[in-house]
Amino acid sequence: MSKVSRLGASFRDPSGFLFTHNGGLYRQINHSYAAEYDRLMGSGLYERLVKAGLLIPHREVDISPAEPDLAYKVIQPESVRFISYPYEWSFDQLKDAALTTLTLQRRALKAGMSLKDASAYNIQFVNGKPTLIDSLSFETYQEGLPWVAYRQFCQHFLAPLALMARRDIRLGQLLRIYIDGIPLDLASRLLPWSTRFNLGVFTHIHAHAAVQARFAERPIERSKMQAGMSRQAMFGLLDSLEATVRGLKWKLDKTEWGHYYEMTNYSNAAFEHKKRLVAEWTERLQPKLVWDLGANTGVFSRQVRGAEAYVVAFDIDPLAVAQNYLQVKEAGEKNILPLILDLTNPSPALGWDNRERDSLAQRGPADLVLALALVHHLAISNNVPLPQIADFFAGIGRWLAIEFIPKSDSQVQKLLRSREDIFSHYTREDFEQSFGRRFKIHSGVQICESERTLYLMECVKPLQ
């Protein structure tokens, strides 16, 4: 019996939709989009974009469509190892995704097509590079018509980038509230007044917001908008957007963890010992999907072995994630995806019916979760009792490599310095007992020259 279900995030565009069939992911193309799809494939644009790593490759398949009455074709896109969202990206990831979108639009125009949407959610990191995953985003370009996705581009990319660069890096998190990008009037109000002297930001955000407000109650007939936007002007607009995006730079401030490895209290030998254990254990387990929680700049993520291993390196600190992403870019690493995540408030399910964007747990379970030098932050800084921490890990991974740092350790002492010690249940015995309820502890290795222990556990009672 085959099982077909339509994806919750795929409903806005009438051109087609995503569905799963016996565990595989497919995209139905509707008859209404047939001509555009044939043009994408026939013009050579598809081939060029795929070759450049700008568009996800797909193949046409012969399976029954989810809605046969509407169906023109069914395609199977190449699978993406981990779906991430713009509110989890560092500044440079969002910036690169923006530049990729502009490149796609420029190349589409040269082939007589245009992007009909510019959603940041259509971009995913594939082999370390931002890539368009929605093959149905192209339509035939009609000279004279302005870019239909201009507003969406400004809301999804330009506004958050400007706010992060010119006001505060944490404002990227507004994308979590506004699922269709940050409203331009809000961005305009939040940006420093001085940004009006930046021609691009002034035009595409401040003036844009003002014009939107002026015409909000006075919709203009589309017939009156057709003329005037020549092909050359369209390229000019793209140049202006690109220059504005490139001109936005985040000055790397000192954040919480950016220099973490320079401030650790343990020896080089202990550090190397931990690295060796991660390499040995992953060599043995051969995990495919690894979540490194509290990955910092990804030092231990890079110790993960396994032919098919893909490591998602989460950290709360935007600077650490930014540095990690720069390393990925510089070295052309294809199997590491750095992301920003606050584990005390992980990404929830969002959007219409809470089904458009998956929560962190919905994107799991991982084959292996790494939690190195992490538990004391959850247990002491965030007051989460150890049994609840064990439950959380049992909900997201099959195997767990987790480090326990006792109270006597100076890093834990530092956390306790400014507060009363109410953590009588934070002991190695309590830790083993709490995790033992859900995990089988395969090994517990004392890290040399330290009081820390690294455990390898297998989840035997996952959360339902």
Partner: protein, 68 residues
Amino acid sequence: MLIFISGLMDKAPYLDPGSGSFLLQLLIAGIAGLGIFIGAQWSKVKAFLTGKKVVKEDEDDESDDEQG
């Protein structure tokens, strides 16, 4: 031209492009176009005064769009 426009009207985009966002693009296009026009005229005046020929730039360079 009218047939062309009515063709566009039939195929409404699924996104709301926003009236203001559409108008702003036309405005930018207009200002940019004016700038290019003035620039071109100025080049001609300069060329006339200096006696040098105006060299046309190739606008369609494929190498413009590689990302780092």
